[in-house]
Symmetry: C2
Subunit: 250 residues, 2 copies
């Protein structure tokens, strides 16, 4: 229909979550999109349209397993790395070269792994149980994450930034900012929110990562998004949660 | 160099693990490949070449984060879903249509999520600790997995198979077997190994999934692989581990 937005994002309206990785790409691209669930309920917003879409089989095809979903024309996409790649390749936020696109996808999947592990620190037993009911396991899990995985992931991305000296500013692939840089920015922001002391300690040795976070946050469209009410604040329902007892000593 | 294989797989030689999803695609495609680490050490095999490749920066590009890796020409790929997709699209094991390729990728990423959760049942606190040191958490985690996530994942794939009636035999996308069917086969085989009672109970209501597992296992090249010594048996070092105390009552 004429007047319809090019992209419709379906994601929980009260958290950043995995949907935020998609929002950052759409916002930085200046894409024509609607964040469906954040519309007023009397305009078709709220959680209902997400659930409907999960239950429906669109065009005889399979419904997606879990949000975020992106609807564009007849296509319904799920899985954060796939959605981000799809939008980025159509809005100038992916590398142009084929081998670089594969490398970007690999790095995006590695960011997604780090996001999963970040989430599982506070929900090691099950995503279906309350934090309070798995707190002892979360303490052990986060202790290990702070000591081993956090420095390993950040050190890995620092090495990638070091080895890629093509860009004037730090970027992971090629010579310009792509969707994987936006994803790494969001991962860093989330970890900084959740575990401020551990993040500060781990990033002492990752100057290029700190540089990337700074200049990505200054990109005009992204900056105006981050300062707007469209950016949901981090909170304790999302992937990155600030439970002070899980962080390192300050 | 002439005589070099088209594909070199780098993966731990003593487990199926994530590398097995790649092996199945290569084997079913009849691809020209070498499973590098499984060569005798005096022919360049063993764990050393994996570690070397992880430490090296190939062609100025970033080293991959974790195995499996696939080397083909100048390209080094990492991340299981990406490697499988790459090989499948070049060997007739991916859908031909663009929208179907996106759908296949989405389903592959969903299989990968199920694989991660399967692994985390026995290692909920940390992949760096022994099972014995997180056994209590593993009991709770697997109980939840058996009750909630296992039926949810298998039921989801059953629904996808139901909604896709294009193929003569059960397949997830389009009208022929693709790499995502091989991946779902491997996930099912792994879950059946790890949690035989829970798997048997969950698959009572998934006849199409059972059909898929059966006919994928009968594909001539795959069958001959599965019966060969190249197929490493499931064991308690991999993703899918049989700890009887974690399974449901028989």
């Amino acid at each position: 229909m004429p007047g319809d937005p090019q992209y419709e994002l379906y994601y929980w309206p009260f958290i950043q979550g995995r949907g935020e990785f998609v929002r950052l790409v759409l916002e930085d691209a200046g894409a024509d999109y609607v964040d469906v669930a954040r519309l007023p309920e009397d305009e078709g917003g709220g959680v209902a349209p997400i659930v409907e879409l999960m239950q429906a089989h669109a065009d005889g095809g399979p419904a997606p397993f879990a949000p975020p979903f992106l609807k564009t024309g007849d296509l319904i996409l799920a899985q954060t790395p796939l959605i981000c790649r799809y939008v980025a390749e159509r809005t100038g936020l992916a590398p142009d070269d084929g081998a670089d696109r594969l490398r970007a996808d690999q790095l995006m999947l590695t960011v997604a792994d780090a996001v999963n592990e970040s989430h599982d620190t506070h929900h090691p037993i099950s995503g279906g149980l309350y934090y309070e009911d798995q707190k002892e396991a979360a303490l052990r899990s986060t202790e290990d994450f702070r000591a081993e995985r956090l420095p390993k992931f950040l050190g890995y991305f620092e090495g990638v930034l070091e080895s890629n000296s093509l860009g004037k500013q730090a970027c992971l692939v090629g010579d310009k900012t792509t969707y994987v840089d936006l994803a790494l920015f969001q991962l860093a922001k989330g970890l900084e929110y959740a575990l401020p002391n551990a993040f500060a300690a781990a990033t002492v040795t990752t100057p290029r990562l700190r540089e990337l976070v700074e200049h990505v946050g200054e990109r005009p469209r992204l900056r105006s998004y981050l300062e707007s009410e469209r950016r949901i604040p981090f909170n304790e329902w999302g992937i990155f949660r600030r439970y002070p007892e899980l962080d390192a000593e300050g």
